[in-house]
């Protein structure tokens, strides 16, 4: 079998943090004695990602997603465990490795604040040793795709957040990385810009056969882009597999949507399942997963049904439940 592009085994990353008691008195006290404790940002995770895969990392704030990406990028020294990206040990930060990946963070910028984005592009071109003609093609292509052609010569400080994010993305992709880590790339963007960004990521993945890990708070991003997801919380992996299967695994119920001919007494539906929505003649009922066909039959037999469908619960709900630590 082909070697995976990214291989992580038993990775741990702990931080030592000191605790300050509230107020000025606490500050003074912390001058003399400090209480330290360990934060287990990533606690023993393992996974493998193959070439060309686009994988979503999902988890609540502080789950360990960004920490994992930083370890994969060589920014953080792992407390323990085995990490290889493209066969390289990231923390060694070999130029050969660095020329093949990129990390884009939605909340930080690398562009020179007081100069036009164009200057930062040229600087990156030199740093990554991108040949002239390749540089021109890529800048042309990317800025066309993201529609930022005419703002490249404007001081970065004068750009809007959306324009700046797009310029950041171009700066990060100038060297055509084979591996791309995107941390919240759509944060703070409006709906139109979000959509543009998503389309772009999808196209980049397909056109360059790039391996991509994406983290996002917007399930929309993940749903549209990623077949496979890794769900992570409190530093451990809760789920690693197909996005569509996550529902089967974690959701204990299915949803029956039903329309009736005439108004029904909701009391009578109590023994079918849990009523979640009730709009006169339209009902949404949660039923135990295995019982779904039986309950549906019961509905059809005993009520004046016009239309009935059995559906999986929305992924957002399932994920939320997973993070809350319970079954759906």
């Amino acid at each position: 079998m082909e070697d995976p592009v990214i291989k992580v085994k038993d990775l741990k990353k702990y931080y030592r943090i000191h605790q300050k008691e509230p107020g000025l008195a606490g500050s003074v006290k912390s001058l003399f004695s400090r209480k330290y404790y360990n934060v287990e940002a990533v606690n023993d995770i393992s996974f493998e990602i193959g070439e060309g895969e686009l994988v979503g990392f999902i988890g609540p704030n502080g789950a360990g997603k960004t920490t994992t990406l930083k370890v994969l990028s060589g920014l953080l020294y792992p407390t323990s465990g085995y990490v290889r990206v493209l066969g390289f040990e990231p923390f060694k930060r070999q130029p050969k490795f660095q020329k093949q990946f990129s990390l884009v963070m939605g909340q930080k910028n690398q562009l020179w604040w007081d100069l036009p984005a164009w200057e930062s592009f040229i600087l990156n071109k030199e740093i990554y040793e991108v040949p002239d003609n390749q540089f021109e093609t890529i800048v042309h292509e990317l800025s066309e795709m993201l529609e930022i052609k005419d703002i490249l010569k404007v001081q970065v400080r004068k750009l809007s957040l959306g324009q700046r994010m797009k310029a950041e993305l171009v700066a990060a992709l100038l060297h055509s990385p084979k591996v791309l880590f995107l941390d919240e790339p759509t944060i703070g963007l409006d709906v139109v810009a979000q959509k543009k960004m998503r389309d772009f990521v999808k196209e980049y993945n397909q056109q360059y056969k790039a391996t991509i890990i994406l983290t996002s708070h917007y399930m929309g991003d993940v749903k549209e882009l990623c077949k496979r997801v890794i769900v992570i919380d409190k530093g451990i992996i809760l789920y690693d597999g197909l996005l569509e299967k996550i529902v089967e695994k974690f959701a204990a119920h299915k949803v029956i949507k039903v329309d009736f001919e005439k108004p029904i007494d909701p009391e009578k539906l109590k023994n079918i399942g849990e009523i979640k929505e009730n709009e006169e003649m339209h009902y949404l009922i949660h039923v135990p997963r295995k019982e779904a066909p039986k309950r549906a039959a019961k509905l059809l037999d005993n009520f004046p049904v016009v239309d009935l469908t059995i559906e999986e619960p929305p992924i957002e709900d399932v994920i939320r439940q997973v993070f809350n630590g319970g079954k759906v």
Partner: protein
């Protein structure tokens, strides 16, 4: 190499966008020059020689401080590195095939040359105004020694301030503490305010065991002919020993620091 030339180029472009800052910085340097110039001129009234210096030598010393200090100790890296480590901007560089240490050295160099250009202009202007008698070294060796020791001074200053800034890896909340102490030491013990050999012998000797006098004092003392012959060679050797020692210490701290680096805020 290309990448650092481009860094140099972008740094200059950046310098131009901070016009007001730059002008104020030059004014500060001029004021300091005027202060020491008038102080020493006053001291020399009715005297031919003080502390073994002739008036020409001292005046030349004061003029050269303006140039050497501009070239050796002015460095934007000093204002930025601590902050970049503390707020996680360091990550930007660590991701790329670029050396952070060479990167900032290049930016410093760009700023030094930019400032040097103006310092030379200012000095010429000041000289035309005051028309003081200046000292020019009789020996070619003094001039060669001057350039060699200024080069060493640039590296000593850079590595020393990096060591001070790298402390931020362990205490991200106080980026200024140690760095400020080092800055003050460089200012006072470096020889920018007065030639260090006016100090009592034991104090001057003790100072020579630290890297500070090699920053401003020795380069200028070599130029004005206070350090010659075997002493000159000894001073040059010592300054390069400091360069390599500080480089070694700096690299060690850098490597250990990166392991505790938290890349916060990103």
């Amino acid at each position: 190499m290309h990448k650092y030339i481009k860094v140099f180029n972008v740094s200059w472009q950046n310098e131009f966008t901070y016009r007001l800052n730059f002008i104020l910085w030059r004014i500060r340097n001029l004021l300091r020059f005027l202060m020491t110039y008038f102080l020493w001129s006053g001291i020399f009234i009715g005297q031919r020689q003080i502390f073994g210096y002739s008036q020409e030598q001292i005046i030349t010393y004061v003029f050269l401080v303006l140039i050497v200090q501009t070239f050796v100790t002015s460095a934007p890296s000093q204002d930025n590195i601590g902050g970049e480590i503390a707020n996680g901007d360091l990550s930007n560089y660590l991701l790329k095939p670029v050396s952070y240490i060479k990167y900032w050295f290049t930016r410093d160099l760009a700023s030094k040359l930019f400032n040097l250009f103006f310092a030379v202009f200012e000095i010429t202007l000041l000289w035309l105004i005051f028309r003081p008698a200046v000292f020019f070294p009789a020996q070619v060796l003094s001039i060669a020694g001057f350039f060699l020791s200024v080069t060493a001074a640039v590296f000593i200053n850079y590595f020393l301030s990096l060591v001070a800034r790298f402390v931020t890896f362990w205490t991200p909340e106080n980026t200024w503490g140690i760095a400020f102490v080092v800055l003050v030491l460089i200012e006072i013990l470096g020889g920018g305010i007065f030639p260090l050999d006016v100090l009592p012998k034991p104090a001057f000797f003790a100072l020579q065991l630290t890297p500070f006098p090699y920053l401003v004092y020795f380069p200028i003392a070599i130029f004005v002919g206070k350090v010659t012959g075997l002493y000159l060679i000894q001073v040059l050797l010592q300054s390069y020993v400091w360069v390599f020692m500080l480089y070694w210490v700096m690299m060690k701290i850098w490597q250990v620091g990166l392991k505790v680096y938290g890349s916060e805020g990103r």
